[in-house]
C-alpha cells in the first residue's frame, strides 16, 4: 500500500503535485478513459504500449487547465516549465467569442493613407519573407489580489508566451506604400465584436508583425486564427486577433476599446493609449496551494517587460528586508517571459518570499504603494504590476499575501 503511494507520487513529480491534487476526485476515472485498462500496469516493462499515432497527447497523469470565466481564461502559470506556453493553455480574452474563419476565404485589407490599397490572402501572407520571434502577450487587466487562496494563475494568469511566425508589418507597409503623413493605423478584427484599436505607425517600424503561426503550428482559433496582429510588449487588446483590416490615418480613431475601456484614472485625469506592459515578475513555486518542507527549495518564477529585456530579478526570503539576485535562464529575450531561479534553505520559520524584476530601461517593478503614490487611490485595474508576496507558514502551507488598496 505504502509502496504504491510513493511510486505514484514519484510519477507525478514535485512541482506538478498541486495541479494533480485538484483532480484527485476524478483521478481514477481519468486513467481508465485515457489508457485501456488492459494496458495500465504498475510495471510498464511487462506490457507493450500503443503503437505510433497521428497526433500526440499529454500524459494521462498531467492535467494542466486554463481557468475560465465569462470573459477570459487564464494560463496555469504554476504548472508550466521553462517559458513557452503550450498553445492550448494560452490565455484567452475576447469580447464576443471565438469566430470560425475559413482560411481559404480569409483576406486582409490594407487601405487609407497608402499609395496602393491592397488585399492579401492567407497564402499571400505566407509567401512574404517570414520571421519567427518569441515574446509574451499580457492582458492589461491582469492583477487579482482579494484573498489568500489565490494561485499564480488566478493572480496574473492573463499572460502567456509563444514563438510566433509571420510577416513583419513593415514588409506589407512597403508593399502598399504607407504615406509619410500617416501616423496611426486602425486594426480591425473579423469577430462578432469587430474589435478595433488604433496603433501608432511607429510600432510598425519598430517590431509589429502579422502572425499566422504559434509554437510551430497554425495559430489556434482562440489566439486569432488564421492571422493576428502582434505588437510585442504591448497590452494584449492591441494585438488584434482574426485581423481583417488595417486603415492608415493621420489620427487615432478613438474606438470604444481605447476610450471607455483600457484607460484608467491617474490622479484627476484618465490615462489613454497606455501601450507598453511594465516590468513584472511572479514566483510560481512555491505558491498556493503547495505545501513545502523545511530544507532546500528552488524558488522559481517568470519575469517580463514590454519595454525590452529583463536585466535582473531579485528575490527576498525575509519579507522584503533584504534582496538577492536570482539566476536568469538564458537566452534572455526582448519582451519575453524570462525564467528565474533562486536556491534557498528554509529554516522552517514563518516568512514571506517575494520577487521583483528590473528591465533594461532601469525600471524596477513597484510595490502597490508606489503605484498608488504615482496614480492616486482611484487608479483602477489596468496596468497593475506590483511586487507580490507568498507567506510560508510554519506548517509549510503557502498562502498569497493579499494587496488591499480599494
Amino acid at each position: 500500500m505504502n509502496k504504491r503511494k510513493i511510486s505514484r507520487r514519484t510519477l507525478l513529480g514535485g512541482a506538478a503535485t498541486a495541479a494533480v491534487m485538484l483532480f484527485k476526485s476524478s483521478y481514477g476515472r481519468m486513467i481508465q478513459t485515457a489508457i485501456p485498462e488492459s494496458l495500465y500496469t504498475d510495471d510498464p516493462t511487462k506490457v507493450v504500449g500503443p503503437p505510433p499515432g497521428a497526433v500526440g497527447a499529454r500524459s494521462p497523469f498531467e492535467h494542466p487547465v486554463k481557468k475560465a470565466s465569462d470573459t477570459s481564461s487564464r494560463t496555469p502559470l504554476q504548472d508550466l516549465y521553462g517559458t513557452i506556453t503550450p498553445a492550448d493553455l494560452h490565455y484567452e480574452r475576447h469580447h464576443a467569442g471565438v469566430p470560425v474563419i475559413d482560411p481559404h476565404k480569409y483576406e486582409l485589407l490594407i487601405h487609407g493613407m497608402v499609395d496602393k490599397p491592397m488585399v492579401f490572402t492567407l497564402a499571400d501572407l505566407k509567401r512574404f519573407p517570414s520571421v519567427s520571434r518569441t515574446c509574451f502577450l499580457e492582458c492589461s487587466g491582469n492583477f487579482r489580489s482579494n484573498k489568500e487562496t489565490l494561485t499564480p494563475q488566478e493572480i496574473c494568469g492573463l499572460t502567456s508566451q509563444s514563438e510566433w511566425t509571420g510577416v513583419m508589418l513593415t514588409t506589407l507597409f512597403r508593399e502598399v506604400g504607407v504615406q509619410p503623413r500617416a501616423s496611426w493605423f486602425l486594426a480591425e478584427g473579423g469577430d462578432a465584436a469587430v474589435m478595433t484599436r488604433s496603433v501608432p505607425v511607429r510600432k510598425a517600424w519598430d517590431d509589429a508583425m502579422i502572425v499566422y503561426a504559434q509554437n510551430g503550428e497554425a495559430i489556434r482559433p482562440e489566439q486569432g486564427y488564421p492571422a493576428r496582429l502582434l505588437l510585442p510588449g504591448w497590452e494584449g487588446n492591441t494585438n488584434v486577433k482574426w485581423l481583417r483590416r488595417l486603415e492608415l490615418s493621420d489620427q487615432p480613431f478613438m474606438t470604444r476599446e481605447e476610450t471607455s475601456r483600457y484607460t484608467y484614472p491617474v490622479k484627476d485625469r484618465i490615462r489613454q493609449f497606455s501601450f507598453e506592459m511594465d516590468a513584472r515578475s511572479i514566483i510560481t513555486f512555491p505558491a498556493f496551494p503547495q505545501q513545502v518542507e523545511k530544507g532546500w527549495i528552488e524558488i522559481r518564477g517568470i519575469a517580463w517587460s514590454g519595454w525590452g529585456k529583463i536585466a535582473q530579478v531579485e528575490v527576498s526570503t525575509n519579507a522584503g528586508k533584504t534582496w538577492q539576485p536570482a539566476r536568469l535562464q538564458e537566452p534572455v529575450l526582448d519582451k519575453a517571459h524570462t525564467a528565474f531561479r533562486y536556491l534557498w534553505q528554509w529554516n522552517g520559520e514563518t516568512t514571506e518570499i517575494l520577487s521583483r524584476a528590473t528591465d533594461e530601461t532601469g525600471y524596477t517593478q513597484p510595490t502597490i504603494q508606489q503605484l498608488l503614490n504615482a496614480r492616486g487611490a482611484d487608479m483602477g485595474g489596468y496596468h497593475l504590476n506590483p511586487v507580490t508576496a507568498w507567506v510560508i507558514q510554519r506548517d509549510g502551507k503557502v498562502l498569497f499575501r493579499p494587496e488591499k488598496w480599494k
Binding site: 509567401r127 520571434r133 478613438m254 470604444r256 476610450t259 485625469r269 528591465d359 525600471y363
Partner: protein
C-alpha cells in the same frame, strides 16, 4: 503639477512620438537585397473597401447619411437594448449581461459608475461601437437611422443633449463630451520612474 501640462497638449502627437527602446526590425530581418515590391497580393477595389470601412473618426469621417433623435431612439432602445443594459441610472438589483450605459451626473461622480456621460470622450465612439458590435446577440443589424436614434437617446439619457436634437453626420461630431477634458496620453516612457 506635472499632469496639468498634459491637459493642454494634444495627446495625438504625444502618443505618436513617444520614444521607443530602439528599432528591432533591422535585427529581425535583413532587407538589403529586397526588390521594391514582391508583387504578392492584389489591388483592393473601392467596393471592397467600402464594404468593410465602417469606422467613424472623432471628426465625423465615416459617418453615413441618416438621422434620428432621442424620441425615436428610446423606442428602439427599449426593444433592442434594455433587456441587457437596463433603462435607468440606479444600480440594478440583478446582474445584467451588459454594463450600465447611463449616469445622471454628467462629468462628475466618476468613481461610482463609468458611463457615456462621465467617461466617454467622443460621441462618435457611441455610433461606431453600437453599429459594429451591438446588440450583442445580433451585431451589425441596425440601420444608420436606428444607430443615430439610439446614440441620440444615450446622449439624452446622459444629460448631454436634449430630447429633440437630431443626430446626423454633421451634428454628432460637434457634441462636446463632458469627459473629454479628463483624457491625457500615457506619459510612461520606461526608466526608473514609477508612473
Amino acid at each position: 503639477m506635472r499632469l496639468k501640462t498634459y491637459i493642454v497638449l494634444s495627446y495625438i502627437t504625444l502618443a505618436a512620438c513617444k520614444p521607443t527602446t530602439g528599432s528591432h526590425t533591422a535585427l529581425l530581418q535583413d532587407t538589403g537585397s529586397w526588390p521594391a515590391s514582391f508583387h504578392i497580393g492584389r489591388r483592393a477595389t473601392l467596393a471592397e473597401i467600402n464594404a468593410l470601412d465602417i469606422d467613424i473618426r472623432p471628426d465625423g469621417k465615416g459617418l453615413p447619411p441618416g438621422q434620428g433623435n432621442a424620441l425615436s431612439g428610446q423606442t428602439i432602445y427599449t426593444a433592442k437594448c434594455a433587456a441587457c443594459h437596463g433603462t435607468g441610472t440606479a444600480a440594478m438589483n440583478v446582474q445584467l449581461p451588459g454594463p450600465a450605459l447611463m449616469n445622471d451626473s454628467a462629468g462628475a461622480n466618476r468613481k461610482k459608475l463609468r458611463t457615456i456621460g462621465n467617461y466617454w470622450p467622443y460621441a462618435t465612439t457611441i455610433f461606431d461601437y453600437i453599429r459594429r458590435s451591438m446588440p450583442y446577440n445580433a451585431p451589425g443589424t441596425l440601420t444608420p437611422d436606428e444607430v443615430y436614434s439610439i446614440t441620440a437617446y444615450l446622449l439624452y439619457a446622459n444629460r448631454i443633449i436634449d430630447q429633440q436634437t437630431m443626430m446626423n453626420a454633421a451634428s454628432l461630431p460637434a457634441v462636446e463630451m463632458p469627459a473629454k477634458k479628463l483624457f491625457i496620453a500615457d506619459d510612461r516612457q520606461g526608466g526608473p520612474e514609477i508612473r
